[in-house]
Each structure stands twice: as C-alpha cells, then as structure tokens.
C-alpha cells in the first residue's frame, strides 16, 4: 500500500515536471508512465499586401500626398528574442511607356510610416526620403519580447512635383520587405 503511494508520488513528480514544462522525456517502461510532450513549432512571419494606392493632383500643386493603405507585419515564429526590420524601396514615377515624358524621380518622394500600433514589441519608425531607384532604406524596426508580436502602420507618401511634369498618368512600384 505504502509502496504504491511512493510510486504514485514519484510518478506525479516526474510527470508534472515533464508535462508542465513541455519537455520530452523517455517513457518509464517499468511503471507504464506516459510522458506528455508539448512541442510548439514556430508559425510564419506574414505581411499584408495593401491594394494599389492612387494619388492624384493638379499641375501646379506640390507636393501631392496620400495614404498607401495599412501595412501589418506579424511575427508568429514564437522565438525567444524576435527582431525584424521592414525596408522600403521604390521606383521612379514613370510616364506611360512610349510617351517620351521624363519620369518624376524617386528622390522627390518621401515615405512616412506615421504612428505604429505595436503588440509585444518596441522599435523605431523612420520616415524615408528615397535616394535612388530601388535603394532600400529601413523604416520600421521591431524588437519583441519572447513569443509572437505584430506591428501595424498607415504610411503616407509625399511627392514633390517637378515643374517639368506634365498632365498624364504616372506609375511607380513601392516594395515593403521584411526579414525577421
């Protein structure tokens, strides 16, 4: 009777340690114990894809600015010290191909991340004035506490319209890149 009490206590002690802390342990063949293992695998890092942003303005008005749509980065990897940076890079605003009109250079464009809504991370948000076509610059950084974290921001774009610009459609591509 007492022997069994002892066995139960030892089994409970070992099992609770294994179960509570989710560590794998070899099953005890003698007493038929089952080791309970909780193995959490990491999730994905994900990013939103805002729809195309339209900017419109009138010749003679400068700068033109407008919202780009909400960007959300979610780090579900569940690492002990998460850290990520989002870079932005952009092309020139090109006039329709074959039109012969010169582009509005990307150096006239400023990206402002605005206020970043963060969950379980801290970091910086830096406005970027592009220095060249497809030259990436960091804008939002995040260093998280252990576990998962996310950041959401509503960037705006401001474009200085040069006097040489004409009334036509100008298009550009802006890329958000994140590597955790």
């Amino acid at each position: 009777m007492r022997k069994s009490v002892l066995y139960i206590m030892s089994a409970v002690g070992a099992l609770s340690a294994v179960a509570v802390f989710g560590l794998a342990g070899p099953a005890n063949a003698d007493s038929g114990d089952t080791a309970v293992t909780l193995d959490l695998s990491g999730g994905a890092v994900s990013i939103s894809v805002p729809p195309s942003a339209s900017l419109s303005g009138t010749i003679g008005t400068t700068p033109i600015s407008g919202p780009l749509g909400t960007v959300t980065v979610t780090d579900n990897q569940g690492s002990s010290s998460p850290s990520w940076t989002t870079n932005v890079e952009m092309t020139n605003f090109n006039a329709p191909s074959g039109s012969g009109f010169s582009p509005i250079p990307v150096t006239n464009v400023t990206y402002n991340p605005g206020t970043v809504t963060r969950v379980n991370n801290t970091g910086t948000a830096t406005p970027v004035t592009f220095t060249g076509e497809s030259v990436a610059a960091p804008t939002v950084t995040a260093t998280g506490g252990s576990g998962i974290n996310s950041a959401t921001w509503d960037p705006t774009l401001s474009v200085v319209i040069p006097p040489t610009a004409v009334a036509t459609t100008y298009t550009a591509t802006l890329t958000h890149s994140t590597v955790p």
Binding site: V5, L6, M9, P26, L68, S81, G147, S177
Partner: protein, 346 residues
C-alpha cells in the same frame, strides 16, 4: 516503515524541486496581455531543420547549414495565404550580407554567389484563400564554390494588381535568412568573447550598460541575451533586462551590445552579469559596476570571468538528467524503506 516512506517522498519532492529550478528559466514567458494583430495577408515559414541542428533555435528560423563543395541540400518552406482571395506568390533568392552588426538584404532580385546556387521547384505559386502550399528549396554548391559563409534571403513576394491610372503599385515580400557555409570537412566552430562592461547615464537620465562582443569563430552570429543586476544597495536585485536588439555579427567583427535601463534604478554598486547567446553558443561575463550620478560614462570595468566554455545545453539532456535523478531518488527511497523494514520487522 512510515519513516522510510516519508524520507522517500521528501527525496522525490526534492528531486522535483530541482527540476523546477533547472527548467523554469527555459519556460517561455507569456506574451503581454494584448492580442497580436490579425495575420498579414501572406506568410512564409521554414518547415525543415537539419537533424544535427535540431536544438539550435536559429536553425529553426533560418536556413543554416554547412556544405562541402559539390554537395546539395534541400529544404521545404510553406507559403500561406490568410486572406479571402487567392494570391499569386513569387519565390526567389536574393543577395544579403552581414556588416555593421546587422543582416542586410539587397533590393529586388540582386544576385550573389549563393543565389546562383539556390533554386525553388515552383518559382510562382498560386495559393487559394485560407490555405498554404509547400515549396522545395534546393541549394547545390558547385565543385568550385568559394569557401566561407554565404548569406542570402529566400523571398516570397506578392503585389497588388497592375494600375489603371496614376498611382503606386504596392508589393510586399517576406524572407527567410540563409546562412550557408561552404568548405571541406565539418563546419567551423562558432565562438565569441565578451569584453569590458561600461555603465552609462544618458543625457535624458536613463541608464545603459554597454559591452562589446568579438566574433572569434568562423560563422556569423545572431547575438541577444539578458543582463541581471545583483548585490545592489541594500541587497537589491534587478532584471533580467533584455538586449536592445539582436546583433548579427560577421566572423572576425566586433559589435556593441546595449541594455537600456530605467533611470530610477539606484546607481549601485551592482554585480552585473551579462548572459549572451547565439543559437547554442552561450557566454557569460560579470563585473562590479556603478552607474555614474551625472550623464556620462563610467570607466570600462573588465569582466571578472570571461567565460570560454562552450555551453550547449539541450533540453532533452536536462530532462533526461532530471528524470535520472528522480529515478535514483526513488531507488534510494526504496532501499531505505527496505532497510528500515528489515531492521524493524512489523
């Protein structure tokens, strides 16, 4: 008999407490009360880890491996679409480098040596709404691949549809870092040293503890860790405080590591213990420091015990050891009980 049982039970409890003490710091802290925002539209994650690196947290997150020239490796990644619309996702490798204490990735599809060795079985994947697809990544190092560690990013990219009028087409991409070491034989060892500690009071009154690490091994490191303050005024303890950032350090480089602390913490003296790690490589250094009363830096304090041990504790090992201890205690308890019953027959 009763005495023996009690002693046995006590011994078992002592064993359990020892296990708690060992494993408690490894238990992940729950995220702060708030819930994490909605998933982004699409995600990317690594599905496979090299068997020999299974316990390395970096290898679970990044594509890390050592390959001999002429060798090949394959990994599975998962691209997921959490949106309500199907999404076309491009997968491709891009160049990256490690310098100035950071992992830096190049713009667009900039190539480097590693990207020319890297291929994906499906460069364009159509992922239906709320589902995911698996893609194979192959890295084949040619026989004349240059030795050393090569860096890159495996990108998953999706964009908004083409524009109809004036505006900006938005493209988002997310990447997995690649650290691929090439050379004959096994991989070079990872190693780093912690140099002196410097206690500072910033102009805004906040406190900081700075140190510097040197990557003395052959692999890039992603270093982060904690600072604990002990034996302070009146026996106070404070911490653990986390490093401000994860610093990525190339072999042979040095990198500053900073801890930012609240200005309300007493000036000291404190025994500061810095515990830094990159994957399974862990280094500890401690020194007695005092934060300056006015803004400025204190003199650098040399660390007392610059640790040179390579600490690679695997949770399985810890648990196995703990269970062994419990088993031994149970066996001992049984022996005590038997001895007790022999000496005092009931």
């Amino acid at each position: 008999m009763i005495k023996g049982t009690r002693r046995g039970a006590l011994a078992v409890m002592a064993g359990t407490i020892v296990i708690l003490a060992i494993t408690a710091p490894a238990a992940p802290a729950a995220p702060a009360g708030d819930t994490v925002g909605p998933d982004g539209r699409f995600g990317l994650r690594l599905l496979e880890v090299t068997a020999s690196l299974r316990n390395d947290p970096r290898a679970r997150q990044y594509i890390i491996d050592h390959l001999n020239p002429g060798a090949m490796m394959r990994r599975q990644v998962e691209v997921s679409n959490s949106g309500d619309e199907p999404l076309r996702i491009d997968l491709y490798p891009g160049a990256a480098s490690v310098r100035d204490s950071a992992f830096r990735f190049a713009s667009a599809r900039t190539p480097n040596e590693l990207t020319t060795w890297t291929s994906v079985d499906r460069p364009v994947v159509d992922v239906p709404a709320h589902s995911s697809q698996t893609v194979d990544v192959t890295i084949a190092v040619p026989g004349d691949g240059s030795p050393g560690e090569h860096y890159g990013v495996l990108w998953a990219q999706a964009g908004s549809p083409a524009l109809s009028g004036t505006g900006v087409r938005m493209v988002s991409r997310i990447g997995i870092r690649m650290y691929v070491d090439v050379g004959p034989g096994g991989p070079p060892a990872a190693n780093f040293t912690i140099s002196a500690l410097t206690a500072k009071r910033r102009l805004d009154g906040g406190l900081a503890l700075d140190t510097e690490i040197r990557n003395s091994g052959g692999r890039a490191l992603d270093v982060s860790g904690t600072l604990a303050l002990a034996k302070g005024p009146g026996g106070l303890r404070a911490g653990p405080f986390h490093t401000d950032r994860v610093e990525t350090v190339a072999p042979g480089e040095t990198s500053p590591i900073s801890f930012t602390l609240d200005g309300g913490i007493p000036a000291g003296p404190w025994t500061a213990t810095v515990d830094l790690k990159s994957g399974l490589v862990e280094r500890t250094a401690s020194a007695v420091i005092r934060f300056p009363d006015r803004p400025g830096s204190s003199a650098q304090v040399l660390v007392k015990r610059p640790s040179t041990r390579r600490v690679a504790i695997m949770s399985a090992g810890v648990t196995g050891g703990s269970l062994l201890v419990v088993g031994l205690l149970v066996a001992l308890a049984r022996r005590w009980r038997r001895r007790a019953s022999r000496s005092r027959p009931s």
